[in-house]
Symmetry: C2
Subunit: 470 residues, 2 copies
């Protein structure tokens, strides 16, 4: 499907050894963003990446200061009338402990059994390398790109992207584009390529219930005063119905319903429910009536107590009525739920159902927006055609139940639809010892990225359905 597959393929064939050597060199830099003693390593990785982008032909390559580890920016903007793609990845990596579970040193990468093993192989240095190599090969074989590309490779993804939002805000004008292409995800299972079309957002809150100023003797006062822990249990129990539905009025008002195509995509995912239950280690899987386990875990909003405490926690028994009780609660959100709006609905409902005899307060602990790109979005379909052309199989469409804050940042701050095109296998051990990337997927992925640029050039992005948070 690509414009000049033969010459691109020939180029990639010819430079395979050098490319893999550069990939391993990049992994040798211990760019752990979360520990201050690796700050110089992070900067070294940023400089190495900037040099590779320059060598590949990128322009305006810049190591941008952020207040933390720098963002590496680069672009190539010579495709008049073609869409602009903002590519995102990160060059920083997770810490490596527990070290004793690594079979080899985490920053001495090697290739074995068809995999590159080492910290960052999959998450996300390997995927950053794939973008650099796709750019290099396209420019080397064609002298130009079919689309405009802007690269944003950050160095703090593994430490909460602490400075990215401020940097995006400050550089918003330079970052205008037609879509964000994020390569920091992976396959659903096995070696079946997948496109992640949805991420959940989050709303975090704490409920504080206060009774008397001090713990009371449960003999002298029991029966005459409300117990803050009992009261809090009543509030929490009233947040969800027996059908798994969240009872906060208006909670589902902005939820985008699953389409038939969405449900068909879920049904197409290879999933062994009993194996999943056994792996999680619970007696039964339970959730919202009317939805499958995978839908519940990624396409539907949730309400979970993350922690709760009040009164005596020691051995034996202590006969008190606790002075106060607390619950930390998060809701995972789905498009188009707005975390601020959901917090308001949650707070209002909790205060309304608060029983007499205690004081109830609700505090927000922050939030993040959900992200959803419809399967039929032209950008998603372009990525799908690129996958089919290069992997020889149509992609699965999946959603992740967690949040990738940067996806929401691109949607919210820069106003872009997001396509998550990732190449890590589900057993890649990201964040764990012996992280790895299947080398064949690294190679095919480079071709997928190139094909995706070609497909995006031909796609009518203006025909995008109105979804997203714009």
């Amino acid at each position: 499907m690509t414009a000049e597959p033969t010459s691109l393929e020939a180029y990639l064939d010819a430079h395979r050894e050098r490319r893999i050597a550069a990939y391993l060199d990049f992994l040798r830099v211990p760019s752990i963003s979360g520990t201050p003693e690796h700050a110089a390593d992070c900067r070294r990785a940023a400089e190495m990446l900037a040099a590779e982008l320059r060598a590949a032909g990128a322009e305006h390559v810049e190591i941008c200061e952020t207040g933390g580890h720098p963002v590496v920016y680069a672009d190539h903007l010579h495709a008049a009338d073609a869409p602009t793609v903002l590519v995102y990845g990160h060059y920083d990596v997770q810490p490596v402990d527990p070290l004793d579970l690594w079979l080899t040193a985490p920053f001495e990468p090697f290739v074995a059994d068809g995999r590159v093993v080492g910290r960052g192989a999959a998450d996300d240095k390997g995927q950053v390398q794939m973008h650099v190599r796709a750019l290099e090969a396209m420019l080397a074989t064609r002298g130009d790109l079919p689309v405009n590309v802007k690269y944003v490779f950050e160095g703090e993804e593994e430490s909460s992207s602490a400075h990215l939002d401020a940097w995006l805000e400050g550089d918003r004008d330079r970052l205008t584009a037609d879509l964000a292409l994020i390569s920091d995800t992976g396959f659903f299972v096995g070696n079946l390529p997948a496109i992640t079309v949805g991420l959940r957002g989050i709303m975090a809150a704490e409920i504080d219930v206060t009774g008397a100023p001090l713990d009371l003797h449960s003999g002298s006062y029991g029966g005459a005063v409300h117990n803050p822990v009992n009261a809090l249990c009543g509030i929490v129990a009233a947040l969800k119905g027996p059908d798994g539905r969240i009872l906060v009025p208006g909670f589902y008002g902005d939820v985008v319903p699953l389409t038939d195509a969405d449900r068909a995509a879920y049904a197409a995912l290879p999933f062994d429910e009993e194996a999943f239950r056994a792996q999680v280690g619970v007696p039964a899987l339970v959730g919202e009536v009317g939805y499958s386990t995978l839908e519940r875990a990624s396409a539907r909003p949730t309400l979970d107590v993350n922690g709760m405490w009040g009164g005596f926690q020691g051995e034996g028994s202590k006969t008190i009525i606790p002075a106060h009780a607390h619950a930390k609660i998060t809701c995972r959100l789905v498009a188009d739920q707005d975390p601020d709006r959901i917090f308001e609905l949650f707070r209002d409902y909790v205060l309304r159902i608060a029983p007499p005899g205690v004081t109830v307060e609700v505090r927000g602990l922050g939030g993040g927006r959900p992200s959803l790109t419809p399967i039929d979005h032209p950008a998603a379909q372009a990525a799908a055609r690129a996958i089919e052309a290069t992997f020889g199989v149509a992609p699965l469409y999946m959603r992740e139940g967690g949040s990738i804050p940067v996806a929401a940042s691109f949607e919210t701050i820069v106003g872009l639809p997001v396509v998550l095109l990732g190449f890590a296998n589900d057993d890649c051990q990201a964040h764990a010892p012996n992280e790895s990337m299947v080398l064949a997927n690294f190679e095919t992925g480079i071709r997928t990225i190139a094909a995706c640029f070609d497909e995006l050039a031909m796609a009518d992005l203006g025909a995008a359905s109105g979804r997203g948070d714009g």
Copy 2:
């Protein structure tokens, strides 16, 4: 009303100074039972008490080894065909910290403003002294007692009466009596004498809810599995209805209803509800519909969470589904609820309402029986007449919301009805700094005890209604 008031009164008048000096001497012994370094002091107090009982004319005076601090036993059993009264008190005292809040040294007692001030003045050395002096005065002025009396003065009441039950079991035959007269309580408010006719029992349990073996990521799993904390909140919320009634089936089955006389006695207690609410420091007093605050706090059973915990308790938010959640729960019980039976009902109900997807376990943490002596019980009425004759005012009838385990022990192990005839004022600061006893009440109380023996001798204890835990 007493047989020879003039001569008893003359004797008491004549020995007042000596009696108060002996009382202060007794308070000087720091018989703190809870701290091992005061073991010798406890034994010294026991020996001092035994000597005083002997001097007063008691027989079979014995310092009984228990494995802990000794019990002082004595008796006087020469009233053929008259009832036998088992008198209970304790010679041990509470610790004295915080020491800096005492206006003077806790074991250097003194008399000021009509009060004896010092640790143990009210709880319970002063009341033990009153029994010794009543015995002494009656034997000195009459040569005999109108009833048979057995004294049991223990030395571990302030440290959970750890060895008393075993000692009672072992000495059950020697302890047969017609009633237990416990002098370890006090007045309801002001200087209005009161008889305590009820004590609540207790049932303690823990509910443990387990989900997955480890905390789960709330993004990846949220919605697909049950959350143990949410589940536990649902269970706890289902234990009580909005009307304050406990929903465990059968829970109220053995509760003795309040009679009109009981409710009239409650209504007669001087009680300022708003002042109570303000002193407790809660926004409102709430409890079971259909009962007053005082009834709720002492005549009705309760269910309170004493402590609950699960998951993350730190600053900020942590997006987990906790692996487990726990609640410690106690029910205060009223006659005739049996703690073992209530635990079974509680456990069965909790297991029945346990939701799928989690494992729920219920463990018993012990219990104690409630105690109730009807206001119209002949022994209670004998005590009431004695109070009226000596204090010049009819007693109030009150119940305590807490438990005095020894009361239940006498009821259960020895099979006795219990009358709680106590003389401490409600501001006596028992367990707190600057404990005190109103000296006039100490003096009048000695006369009340003597009068009570006379009244009991004339009472038809065989006419007792069938209440109690027989």
